[in-house]
Amino acid sequence: MIKVLLFAHLQEKIGKDQLELEIIQSTVAELKNKLKNQFQLYELNSVMTAINEEYAMDEDIVKSGDTVAFIPPVSGG
């Protein structure tokens, strides 16, 4: 199981601040695509991704037990 934390407008879009996905292993890019298709989360095109609090790239591997955070840059000030 992979835990996904959603921040800012990603939350509002799907009505939850976290998800638990029954996935054994995936790349960050695959995970994003899955969520884009399932929830129309186009915002995932421009987010920062962390795996277990470490900056991650699209080709990095996410495994069961990991926590992935999708952090959309917010611009207000």
Partner: protein, 336 residues
């Protein structure tokens, strides 16, 4: 040392030496909205030597819900934020030298202000200006502290030229769909939480306590009770156009940066950004704000007394004004 700073001097990592350093430093705050006014109040109360403030807006009624320093009288008098801030800040601490500038933050307008600046606080409300700051601070070797907030969320990160990954390393392109306070609202604690992190890192930098620096990017959501830190060391790119081996500072380039022009006789301003726009994203975010129309070529939205038309090639038309300032302000509210 003044009795005024006694509680700060008692704080062991600062002490008398630290306080002396703080009193000799010069900080530039870019933006005097929610983040800027609160950062300014903290640094002035802490006794920073000099403070330069830059902002292009004046105080409006909808600012009072979260923008420290400002009062109903400032709204009535339509005082520019930088000037209203200076007045209140001097009442709080007459020992600090405060220099307000009412201007649009651009590479050209900021350059003359950087001479003896030790630290820059980002309190802007859009990523176009942040990417410009990122280039400018890298070029001039000045540390700066990124901060942003909307809703109950916010983030902060400290950029040290030549050491840490820069903003361009973390975000390949300027995000066009960054949520803004004018689209999804904001509560004042989100502002305070970002500022608490910015001021703490500022104090560490001002007293040269480099070991204590956070180094991680912080993101939080106070309403949903999340606090997340991210180690970004591996994000540093040797080919980064801003902080890499052969920097080109793309966001200081006049040609590459936004071009804004009044379209004569049409009561319209055109803004052009140097990237293509993702109109699907923008549409999905704006649909709750106002009526939108979206086809294969453009996205249009009715907002207040304006009509905005976004094109995939990066252009936006703002109908209903001939004022570049006003057009930029509306644009940043929606697509900032």
């Amino acid at each position: 040392m003044s009795e005024r700073y006694s509680r700060q001097v008692l704080f062991q990592p600062i002490g008398t030496n630290g306080q002396q350093r703080i009193c000799n430093k010069h900080v530039l705050i870019v933006g005097c909205g929610a983040l800027g006014s609160s950062n300014a109040e903290n640094l002035v109360r802490a006794g920073v030597g000099k403070l330069t403030l830059v902002d292009r807006d004046y105080v409006e009624l909808s600012n009072l819900q979260r923008q420290q320093l400002y009062t109903e009288k400032d709204v009535c008098d339509q005082v520019p934020k930088a000037n209203a801030a200076k007045k209140r800040l001097q009442e709080i601490n007459s020992e600090v030298e405060i220099m307000p500038h009412v201007l649009d933050a651009t590479p050209i307008s900021l350059k003359p202000l950087l001479a003896d600046i030790d630290l820059v606080i980002d309190a802007t409300d859009n990523f176009e200006t942040r990417f410009m700051l990122n280039d400018l601070m890298q070029k001039h070797r000045i540390p700066w502290i990124f901060g942003s907030c909307v809703g109950s969320t916010g983030m902060s990160y400290t950029v040290l030229p030549n050491e840490t990954p820069c903003l361009q390393c973390l975000l390949d392109t300027i995000p066009v769909s960054g949520a803004t306070c004018d689209s999804v609202g904001i509560i004042s604690p989100a502002v305070q939480m970002v500022v608490a992190h910015q001021t703490t890192e500022a104090l560490k930098l001002l007293i040269d306590d480099m070991e204590a620096l956070r180094t991680k990017l912080v993101t939080f959501d106070l309403w949903h009770n999340h606090y997340h830190t991210m180690n970004v060391n591996r994000a540093k790119k040797t080919d980064c156009p801003t902080c890499g081996n052969n920097p080109t500072y793309p966001n200081l380039n006049e040609e590459a940066s936004s071009k804004t022009e009044v379209l004569c006789g049409r009561n319209t301003v055109q803004i052009r950004i140097p990237q293509k726009m993702n109109l699907e994203e923008l549409a999905s975010r704006l649909q709750n704000i106002a009526p939108i129309k979206h086809n294969d070529f453009l996205l249009s939205i009715e907002y207040k007394s304006y009509r905005l038309v976004f094109f995939y090639d990066g252009r936006t038309l703002i109908h209903g004004t001939n004022s570049i300032e006003k057009a930029k302000s509306i644009y940043n509210q929606l697509a900032g």
